[in-house]
């Protein structure tokens, strides 16, 4: 038992230190200045949190008034308890749904060696892990309840608050927080009890997956009689909110929240909240007695890896974990790679392999990732219509369009570079390898941009203001449509060169390909700017037709030069 708590407390200390380091805490700095800074930081963040919650409370007060109006509840406290209760129930049902499919106890790989294989008391392990994971779910729910507590005071005072109301304000926040802490812990422990029950010994309990669904149906049934009784007086939403506050079946939760929001006495409410905690912990202790830690570890290791990659900001690892989660255990051979091999040999095999990889990750996901390019192309084209003469906003939109293309166009190349021992051995000319890698990006980037331009053209009549600004000219749209593919090719090849330039063989062999950096953005910005200046005739020596031709030539030449340089650099990765 002591060993379990020792390991867990070390982990929690380490995690706590990570967050403290973000606000400037240095455990090795024992100086007075540092202590003064910490006091300052503590006061600052407390006041900041209070200020933010108070600010949000203004909006929440208006929400409570609306809820009161549509539901017919006779006080803001009842409206707050109805809203808070619904949010808590939804959160608990969602958490139970997750716990019925994947272990709520998150074990890292180290935990699986240190804890899962020891004969440690499973109840201690469950409790220690609950303590560690509780704050992250408590924090957002507490923030909501405290805000609702503040909102009740705002609502009751009709916006006439002054400094003398601060104690009342703080007391309302504390009151709602006090009951939330125990109620939420009780519900979380119940959810974990369900998860632990599913993971007992080697029992396979598929029916436990149905428990959250049944609980959801029961909640709806519990709300139904009161909702139906209320319907003649209000609409469905209003009746449902009324039922959430008044239904006798939800009284065990409502009583707690109403005590927290001051519509009933605090002492019985906090007593009931503590009762929820005790019930939850007892059930967790009972179901965790035979908890199979190996199964829990097996189910949760990827979640732990994902969390540690998130904390470290390791984008590549996050992508890889997400990819693996999306994929099945295996697949029947794809038709893309089978059949007549003549048409699929050489560089085409690389392209087909890329198509297969994208399809395994989901076409919808791939299309969605390009939809932002469509949006920015459309918005960029419409801005002169929408906001007359605002070249700054248009330039910013174009810049963001370019950043997206830089990022999207190197995805395939980076993926292949991360499999360097395979990719680097392909008997294909380096130039053709690069072309195969950016082909889909240029194709989809152009299609997405064209779609944006078409949408802009169609939407133009809807956005023209009464002052009748200059319309988006069809000629201008056509010029952009012609320039887009070659400009996108130049941006993609510049980004590819940047990625290759930064690549180190040792890193690639370990599966780490660099992200496009400043050079990609600089190349993209210069080529885009030149193309736009030349094509729009803003450079005096270029009349419109010649300007477009020159813009096309500049982009095409840049693309060619970047492609040749990239191919040379790909042969020389060291």
């Amino acid at each position: 038992m002591r060993a379990v708590w020792m390991v867990r407390s070390r982990q929690l200390q380490s995690r706590f230190r990570f967050w403290l380091a973000l606000v400037g805490y240095d455990r090795n700095d024992k100086s007075l200045l540092h202590k003064i800074y910490l006091v300052y930081a503590g006061v600052f963040y407390t006041l900041w949190s209070f200020a933010v919650l108070s600010l949000v409370a203004g909006g929440a007060a208006r929400l409570l008034e609306m809820v009161q109006e549509i539901s017919g509840l006779d006080s803001p406290a009842l409206a707050a308890s109805a809203l808070g209760g619904l949010v808590l129930l939804l959160w608990a049902l969602l958490a139970a749904y997750n716990a019925s499919r994947s272990s709520p106890l998150i074990f890292t790989e180290e935990d699986s060696y240190l804890i899962a294989q020891t004969p440690a008391d499973r109840r201690s392990v469950a409790l220690a892990w609950l303590v560690g994971q509780w704050p992250r779910t408590l924090l957002p729910i507490s923030a909501l309840m405290v805000t609702l507590g503040f909102a009740i005071i705002e609502s009751l005072s009709a916006g006439n608050l002054n400094a003398s109301d601060i104690p009342r304000y703080l007391l309302a926040g504390f009151r709602s927080l006090s009951v939330t802490v125990f109620l939420q812990l009780g519900l979380l422990a119940l959810v974990w009890a369900l998860g632990a029950y599913r993971l007992q010994s080697d029992h396979y309990r598929p029916y436990s997956k149905l428990a959250p669904v049944l609980a959801g149906i029961l909640v709806l049934l519990a709300l139904l009689p009161t909702t139906l009784a209320r319907l003649p007086e209000t609409n469905v939403l209003g009746a449902l909110i009324y039922a959430a506050a008044r239904s006798p079946f939800l009284a065990p939760i409502n009583r707690v929240l109403q005590a927290g929001f001051g519509s009933t006495a605090w002492a019985p409410g906090i007593g009931l909240a503590v009762g929820w905690t005790i019930l939850g912990l007892l059930l967790l202790a009972a179901s965790a007695r035979a908890l199979n830690l190996s199964r829990a570890s097996q189910e949760s290791r990827s979640v732990a890896s994902w969390e540690s990659a998130m904390l470290a900001g390791n984008i590549r690892q996050l992508e890889e974990i997400s990819r693996r989660r999306r994929l099945a255990l295996g697949y029947a051979p794809s038709r893309l790679l089978t059949g007549q091999h003549q048409g699929r040999s050489g560089w085409r095999a690389l392209f087909i392999k890329d198509v297969l990889q994208v399809s395994r990750n989901g076409w919808l996901r791939a299309l969605f990732s390009w939809s932002a390019v469509t949006l920015l192309a459309g918005v960029g084209a419409l801005i002169p219509v929408w906001i007359q003469g605002d070249i700054g906003v248009q330039a910013f939109t174009l810049l963001y369009w370019m950043v997206l293309l830089v990022n999207r166009s190197t995805t395939r190349l980076r993926n292949d570079l991360e499999t360097w021992a395979v990719f680097g051995q392909l008997p294909l000319p380096a130039g053709r390898l690069i072309l195969a890698e950016i082909l889909s990006a240029v194709l989809f980037g152009s299609l997405a941009t064209w779609a944006g331009l078409v949408i802009a053209w169609l939407m133009q009549p809807l956005l023209v203001m009464t002052s009748a600004p200059a319309a988006l000219s069809l000629t201008q749209l056509l010029i952009w449509a012609i320039l887009a593919p070659v400009l996108i090719a130049a941006i993609a090849l510049g980004s590819a060169l940047d990625v290759i330039r930064q690549s180190k063989s040792a890193n690639l062999l370990s599966g780490y390909a660099p992200l496009p950096g400043f050079l990609s953005l600089a190349i993209g910005a210069v080529v885009s700017l030149l193309s736009i200046l030349l094509s729009t005739g803003r450079v005096s020596l270029a009349p419109s037709f010649l300007g477009v031709m020159m813009a096309f030539a500049v982009s095409a030449f840049s693309a060619y030069a970047l492609w040749r340089t990239g191919a040379e650099r790909l042969k020389q990765v060291s």
Binding site: G330, Q342, S345, Q357, N415, L426, P427, S505, L509, K571
Partner: protein, 249 residues
């Protein structure tokens, strides 16, 4: 330093030729200037302690690490000047192979075969190889679900599925079971018989004595020993076939 059994090898010669090959990681010289020649049908084992530069040498010879100095010819083709011809005759298996996350083991083989224009008779070859290496039942799984040994076997199968005249193996036995060890030895012998030049790094002395025509000992980035015919191979009475006449795969 010359590690050519026939004094100065011409670059037009078949097999593997490296001239004045060296590599630095910043100021650290991982590989000192090295000359090397492997004749067709010859098996050379690189031995030496960890950090001696074996992997760096193999990476430079495979084209995955651009050398600071020197050049490499594969079957007479410059690895960095005529890379398509050179790479179509070369296969390298790293000690820890990595694979595409979305492709199954079978699809990896198919992709490699197609990229190397070796799609003819693929199904039969791939099936035979996967059965030999015990991967047939797991052919439709994604490789990240494989054990370490299975991943190494898949890396080896990916090398054997395509034609090559030079084979480079970095610690090919490090994660293999007993059957796998025997199989890799058989495969190396088969490809030597077919005229492939094979260079492998290994700490396994038994493997060296059974397979190696020469053993090169590396120390601190230098090849310190120009080895001789291994006793085991002599005892077995094996002779390389006519050099480079037959393509492997």
């Amino acid at each position: 330093m010359n590690h050519n059994p026939s004094a100065f090898a011409s670059i037009e010669q078949n097999g593997l030729v490296a001239r004045q090959l060296s590599h630095n990681y910043g100021n650290y010289q991982a590989l000192s200037e090295t000359d090397l020649h492997l004749q067709p049908g010859e098996v050379v084992v690189l031995s030496g302690p960890n950090g001696a530069g074996k992997t760096t040498l193999l990476l430079c010879l495979s084209g995955l690490l651009y050398p600071t100095n020197g050049r490499v010819w594969i079957d007479g083709h410059d690895l960095y000047g005529d890379e398509v011809e050179a790479k179509s005759r070369l296969a390298f298996v790293p000690d820890v192979p990595r694979f595409y996350t979305e492709l199954t083991a079978w699809e990896h083989l198919r992709f490699i075969a197609l990229a190397h224009h070796a799609g003819e008779g693929f199904e039969a070859r791939a099936e035979a190889l996967m059965k030999e290496f015990g991967l047939w039942q797991a052919r439709d799984l994604l490789p990240h679900h494989y054990s370490r040994g299975m991943r190494l076997k898949l890396g080896l199968v990916m090398a054997f599925i395509r034609p090559f005249k030079v084979l480079l193996l970095d610690e090919p036995t490090s994660a293999l079971d007993t059957e796998g060890l025997e199989l890799i030895q058989t495969k190396i012998r088969q490809h030597r018989q077919r005229g492939a030049a094979i260079l492998l790094s290994s700490h396994d002395r038994a493997l060296s004595s059974q397979l190696a025509d020469r053993v090169l000992n590396m120390q601190a980035g230098k090849i310190s020993t120009n080895g001789s015919q291994a006793a085991g191979r002599q005892a077995a009475g094996e002779q390389p076939d006519s050099a480079g006449e037959q393509e492997n795969g």
